[in-house]
Symmetry: C2
Subunit: 254 residues, 2 copies
DNA sequence: GACAATCTTTGATAAACGTCAACACAAAGG
DNA sequence: CCTTTGTGTTGACGTTTATCAAAGATTGTC
């Protein structure tokens, strides 16, 4: 499951001259920085490459940098003493993570981070970035927006865990993904190993498999390896909402 | 369970001349504002009083203000369609809440809020406060620190939910509270109704009761109404850690 | 102090999910 | 080509926790 612990940083790639600034600007956080600021961010950045399963950092480590994914995926997860792992979040290209610990007195990562597939990212020095933040209230605001979004997401996650059954969570996930990518003709591509997804949904792999099987039998979906065809959207939604949230006009994407 | 929906604001108390600024300064968020800024915050504040069970706001409502509790407690919770409620957080005096939604494009409260016991609070206008934030990077930083703390707490909450059994969660809670208030001679005061606490721990009241009963039989604790005497700290800790977190030197208070 | 309302406890029952173990299947590598 | 390793599936079984129902406790109120 885990490949090897690389000395806290994975293998360092040399910075690409090409399109660093354009890559940075993909991220909401850096999007509206001016050229001079982008230059400074670049200067404090390092490019890191990880192969599948490699650690980026472990929970409890001192947090001195934060990250932007440009390729592949990063899974943030926690471990129980018995070895159980729970995936908290899966970070896709264009998104930053670990930027919240910047503001802690003695910053430690609250989660473990490792790569899913071949992954590339930038890392940025916390204190240097903090320095820049001090000069730009605008960027502060952007960051705060980002954090408040994350807060909302986590709260949503907590409901899902407590108010929904495992079956409901899986149904909700499928329904959400189906809605997100209606373009692809009723087919959802799980671009993550099923085991990881199961953990993300807080379900054991065996149970996840069984639930998908059930849904198949109920003619709600049809599974072909890691792509899932949605047959009965209605039915799926019924399963998802049966334990879902009310008291709020929460957008489905939340 | 719920008293009555007051028109979005509870009953308005008239501002007390007395010690508003000193009360504000209790909160981390306002602590280091200068006198002029405190004045401005005061000007945008309203004092609100709620009696037990009264709504402050509901999930989905437009969020235009945020709050500081000065007396009593506020419970933030979510509702499932079947009426189940899950308490996300219990806010005690000196703490602010709902300040994160300020930064959302179209801010809506992600949770419901209602009072536990006689409760008093200040509310502050989002846009006015945002204006002030623009002028004070320092306050931005403080706010970001606050938010990142909340993020960490929520992540911790998610582990507790997924990596721990109900029994472990209760044990962990008791152990944490025992550690927090060692002064009080091995006795923990639950200053919240057991049902609310159960929800906070994501356990049904019945189950909560049974778990306490079990712990009693195992001579770990002794229950006297809403105060609990810890007899065997070790044993309690064993229960808590059996499914607890590793891979991190997470402080017990996290 | 007595009554009502609410909260808490207790018991019996059942469903959902996790665990353990074996097996299928695919991709990777000799 | 055949092993090997990782990953997903299936089955049998056990445990935990929710649910339903009802009886005690507490609290507040008149």
């Amino acid at each position: 499951m885990v490949d090897k612990l690389i000395d806290g940083a994975g293998c360092l790639l040399k910075p690409l001259e090409r399109s660093v600034s354009s890559e940075l600007k993909q991220s909401y956080l850096f999007a509206r920085l001016d050229e001079e600021q982008i230059q400074r961010v670049e200067a404090m950045s390092r490019r890191v490459g990880l192969s599948d399963g490699q650690y980026l950092f472990q929970a409890g480590e001192k947090a001195t940098r934060f990250y932007l994914v440009t390729q592949g995926q990063i899974k943030l997860y926690r471990l129980a003493l018995n070895g159980n792992e729970k995936v908290i979040e899966i970070i896709s290209p264009g998104h930053t993570f670990a930027e919240a610990s910047m503001f802690q007195e003695s910053p430690n990562f609250p989660v473990n981070a490792s790569a899913i597939g071949e992954t590339e990212l930038y890392s940025f020095d916390n204190s240097a970035f903090l320095g820049m933040l001090r000069e730009s209230v605008d960027t502060c605001f952007r960051l705060m927006g980002d954090m408040s979004q994350r807060l909302k997401r986590l709260i949503k996650e907590i409901d899902d865990l407590t108010l929904q059954s495992a079956t409901g969570r899986v149904a909700g996930f499928l329904w959400g993904r189906w809605n997100a990518g209606k373009a692809n003709g009723n087919t959802i591509e799980l671009n993550v190993p099923k085991g990881v997804l199961a953990s993300r949904l807080s379900v054991k792999p065996e149970t996840f498999s069984r639930i998908l099987h059930n849904f198949s039998e109920q003619k709600l979906i049809q599974v072909h390896g890691s792509s899932i065809e949605v047959i009965d959207e209605e039915g799926l939604y019924r399963h998802a909402e049966s334990a879902g949230i009310c008291g709020g006009s929460l957008s489905p994407d939340l």
